[in-house]
Symmetry: C2
Subunit: 259 residues, 2 copies
């Protein structure tokens, strides 16, 4: 049972696997899958008349980066900045529902959720955009984005003659966590969290993630998106939701939780 946990190579979504495995009975009463493949509860009709997924038109990648970078500075929220690189462009090219969605509502992603250092806020903002736009294809794209973020020397984006042109240092986070991503960059750059260079680094990462999101959604809408990485990162390898680079946190070896 529960093939959704096994990891799949692209293609099949968690939802399709669940349906295929006939697992819907477990505790669910009156639930079902509608013809669009959208999850539907007993109260669906009264709960939501939502169109899903949201419509999408190809984005200008460079413009997405510029808007995200500039969007970082008013409130220094990386989650807000990333979404600022995507939704305002779609508000212009598509209109609703982007025009009515207040991206201020994701500012809390700052610092890996109000400073706790968990998921990098840029990935939360990007995840929300991809989740609303790519429907059944969203999880594969988000999974690839998490890999790209963890394995790429960032930041790549350069705002040119704007603030902090002297920022040259790049680093590989090895993780989608704000805590590790910022710590590794700060260590290499030799600056603290409050340094204007660290702040500009995070603005540039927001631009990078917005550009990656736009690049991947542009491929997806053209029917050309091919998942790059195995899904469900390491549940089969370690027996729980986890990254595979354990030593990034567990310097002293992985705890033996289960006898």
């Amino acid at each position: 049972m529960q093939e959704e946990l096994e990891g799949t190579e692209g293609g099949l979504s968690r939802r399709k696997l669940l349906v295929g495995a006939g697992l819907l009975a477990a505790g669910a009463v009156g639930m079902g899958i509608n013809p669009m493949g959208v999850l539907a509860g007993a109260n669906e009709a009264e709960a939501s008349a939502a169109a899903y997924p949201w419509p999408y038109k190809k984005l200008d990648i460079a413009e997405a980066g510029r808007l995200a970078y500039e969007g970082y500075y008013p409130g220094m929220s990386c989650s807000y900045a990333t979404l600022k690189g995507i939704f305002p462009l779609l508000a212009k090219s598509v209109g609703e529902p982007y025009r009515s969605f207040p991206i201020e509502g994701v500012q809390w992603g700052v610092g890996g959720v109000v400073g706790w250092g968990t998921l990098c806020g840029t990935l939360m903002g990007a995840g929300l955009a991809i989740g609303l736009i790519a429907g059944d294809g969203a999880e594969a794209i988000i999974n690839d984005l998490m890999f790209w973020y963890s394995e790429t020397e960032l930041p790549i984006f350069n705002p040119g003659k704007l603030a902090h042109a002297e920022l040259k240092v790049r680093s590989v986070s090895g993780s989608p966590l704000c805590h590790l991503s910022t710590a590794k960059w700060m260590s290499r750059a030799g600056v603290g969290y409050k340094d204007p260079l660290r702040i500009d680094r995070c603005a540039r990462v927001a631009a990078d993630v917005a550009m990656q999101t736009a690049t991947r959604l542009n491929k997806w809408v053209a029917g050309e998106y091919r998942p790059e990485n195995k899904r469900k990162y390491s549940i089969t390898e370690f027996g729980l939701a986890a990254q595979t680079n354990c030593a990034a946190c567990h310097e002293n070896g992985v705890p033996k939780l289960f006898k």
Copy 2:
């Protein structure tokens, strides 16, 4: 500079501190704060006609829990389930914009973002609801919710005669991360990730977080919300976005990144 990083005891928001500290100039061109206190970029008029924050009416706490628990089972997405406990009730009592928002768009939060074990998906779903509803008050409420989640023996919710009534084990996660939260519960319960009891545990946690979210938003809308915890968890203590219980990951001591 950057008082927003210093941690504040309730009351003042990050945004207000930023404005007070006159930090808006750094790299921002044509940005401003509108009379509602909402961040506004140069393209605001064309980017969004969004009403923000979203309207709210007091929720039935028990109903929020029941809907979240039942919402978990069709697709086993904790982020979807938590939002399912909140938005459909507001779609009935308030109407738009809840009726038009497709909560399917947050399913990717499953397993701490498609199985990576980062932020518990229930907190992503709850964060989005609180962020859209509580405006300037959202970050204090989300911060308190992160503390509550990390320090409370979960799950509390009991679906009664529904599935897996034998589930009795509770555990304290010490963290808002899926990886730690599920690992500690599984260790205490002696079951693996794929066990139906672990799955029901996460359905119950979604119910708990939905109920906590509803409880806190009900207080907030009545003007009775008092922040319980210091903001910006440990930036001042450790020099970066982080939790304070370092040994939860760094069993061999905290790395010395900065000489």
